[in-house]
């Protein structure tokens, strides 16, 4: 077989790769663009703040938005302290040994558990065993297991990025280990940690498989965390199953995507601030 001139080969390769990368961007724009364009017409104040009618096939999506917010808030409330403390321990308080390796293994495996399996666990444990029944509480506790590894990882990265010289200054200035962590390392790592948290919000909002058997599908606005509530993502899934590509479906999807996009752009902005701080 005739050997291609290496320079020519490179040109072709570059072209193909650019095509790949371009297709990825195109896919994103196409998916997001299509859904948002089709759905944005449906979104108005009545849609966002109104109640659903005929089993959710018409009307507004207020209860679902509120359920999503509730669920996300409680999940964060549970997983942020747990995750941050774990990350602090793994970075500041240990040297690499079998204990840290075991913990990291646990975190990585937890990250790998499929969301539907977590949903099963949540159903068995929170809904049935602890008798929380189908509720925001059950749902958010399950989702917090989902995002915990993510928060641990991103917090760890943020804390590691803090230059060692900062810690040395803290010690030389007469600080204890805990003081160096709370007064120097954490404040410096904060935007990076926040970025992780903000991205976790995006994940919570989109979670379906782990929520569907734990938080229930009630159409009402949940009065407390013990009430059942249908999140926007679940509502969207049920809508598609029952009504196909209806206006309501597009509207819900668009709302979902727009919120996630806003959340992600906020995270990028935070990340830039963080990089400016530690460099």
């Amino acid at each position: 077989m005739r050997r291609l001139n290496p320079k020519k080969a490179e040109l072709i390769a570059k072209g193909v790769l650019l095509l790949f990368a371009g297709t990825a961007v195109l896919a994103l724009v196409a998916i997001v663009g299509y859904v948002v364009v089709k759905g944005i017409g449906v979104i108005n104040l009545e849609f966002l703040f109104g109640r659903p009618r005929s089993m959710g096939r018409e009307g507004g999506i207020l209860p679902f938005i509120i359920s999503s917010i509730y669920l996300t808030a409680i999940s964060l409330l549970v997983s942020i302290p747990l995750g941050l403390c774990s990350a602090i321990y793994l970075t500041e308080y240990t040297t690499e040994g079998w204990a840290t390796r075991a913990i990291r293994f646990g975190v990585d495996c937890l990250a790998g558990v499929p969301s539907i399996v977590l949903g099963l666990f949540g159903f068995m444990f929170f809904v049935k065993l602890l008798n929380f029944s189908w509720s925001i509480l059950s749902g958010s506790l399950t989702v917090s297991l989902m995002i915990l590894p993510f928060i641990i990882r991103s917090s760890e990265e943020a804390i590691r990025a803090v230059p060692q010289s900062y810690r040395e200054v803290a010690f030389a200035t007469g600080g204890t280990k805990w003081q160096s962590v709370t007064r120097v390392v954490l404040p410096c790592a904060l935007p990076g940690i926040m970025t992780g948290i903000v991205l976790a919000i995006g994940k919570c909002v989109g979670e379906t498989a782990s929520v569907i058997f734990t938080a229930g599908t009630s159409l009402r606005i949940p009065g407390s965390i013990f009430d059942s509530g249908r999140t926007l993502a679940i509502h969207f899934y049920l809508l598609v199953r029952e009504t196909g590509a209806s206006d309501m479906a597009y509207g819900s999807a668009a709302t979902l995507l727009i919120s996630i996009l806003i959340v992600n752009f906020f995270a990028y902005w935070l990340m830039r601030r963080f990089i400016a701080r530690v460099s």
């Binding site: 040297t95 200054v169 200035t173 600080g175």
Partner: protein, 258 residues
């Protein structure tokens, strides 16, 4: 390894002090003393153990695993490695300034207030006093007094180093440990710092590690010459520079090596 000094109170004493990183010896049998309210300069080529010596004094080397030491290091007659020494308190008494200025990503004010706050001083008035006093002592007050709450990262290199000096002084220490504080600074900033030090020795005992022998000649009262972890000679600065008793000292000072 002869050392002579004035018969004044001895703030810091090292007796046959040795220190190793794992199997690598860094300091071998150092015996010297530092008098109160003097500028004690330590000179020598790189890797002589100068920085290690400083870091042993304020126990910054505690964080490093697998080290071993022998001999004594005394501050005011008490070993710094004593069991009931509060390390945080020790580091407050021995304020350290590193070679590379490290301005924390906080405001100038908060950089300086960090130490006092960690000690438990929380009243704003007291903190204000400390901040102003330290900045004045470091000859930095005039340049930053109008922007105390802006980020310290915006200061120039020389200003940042003076900030670090002020930060050390905000601890109200007794001794200042300066590790090549003027490396990488322009001559003007260097002079400002040296002037500050000459002023400060009235209040503090200062140990200054420097790679610039001329700097030792300019500001040092007594000078020690370290070479490969050993103390070769320690005497009044003038003696060391004009008629050193050890041949290696003479060679280093005349630039035959280093």
């Amino acid at each position: 390894m002869v050392e002579t000094g004035k018969s004044e109170p001895q703030k810091i004493i090292a007796r046959n002090f040795s220190f190793s990183y794992g199997s690598q010896p860094a300091l071998k049998g150092i015996t010297l003393h530092v008098c109160t309210n003097e500028i004690f300069t330590v000179i020598g080529p790189s890797r002589s153990g100068k920085t290690t010596f400083l870091k042993c004094l304020n126990r910054m080397n505690d964080a490093i695993a697998n080290t071993s030491k022998s001999g004594e290091l005394l501050l005011d007659g008490r070993s710094v490695f004593d069991k009931d020494v509060d390390v945080a308190e020790l580091r407050r008494r021995l304020g350290m300034v590193f070679a590379v200025p490290v301005a924390l990503p906080k405001s100038i004010y908060n950089n300086l207030a960090l130490g006092p706050r960690m000690r438990g001083i929380l009243r704003k008035k007291r903190l204000d006093e400390i901040v102003e006093r330290s900045l004045k002592a470091a000859y930095l007050w005039e340049e930053v007094k109008d922007r105390l709450h802006t980020s310290a990262r915006n200061l120039s290199g020389g200003q940042q180093q003076r900030l670090c000096l002020a930060r050390a002084m905000a601890l109200e220490p007794e001794v200042l440990l300066l590790d090549e504080p003027c490396s990488g600074l322009d001559p003007v900033s260097t002079r400002k710092i040296e002037e500050a030090l000459l002023e400060l020795k009235n209040r503090y005992t200062i140990i200054l590690v420097t790679n610039i022998t001329a700097q030792a000649a300019r500001v040092g009262d007594r000078t020690a010459f370290f070479l490969m972890g050993e103390l070769i000679e320690c005497d009044a600065t003038e003696t060391i520079f004009t008629h050193p008793s050890n041949e290696r000292t003479a060679d280093y000072l005349t630039g035959k090596f280093g």
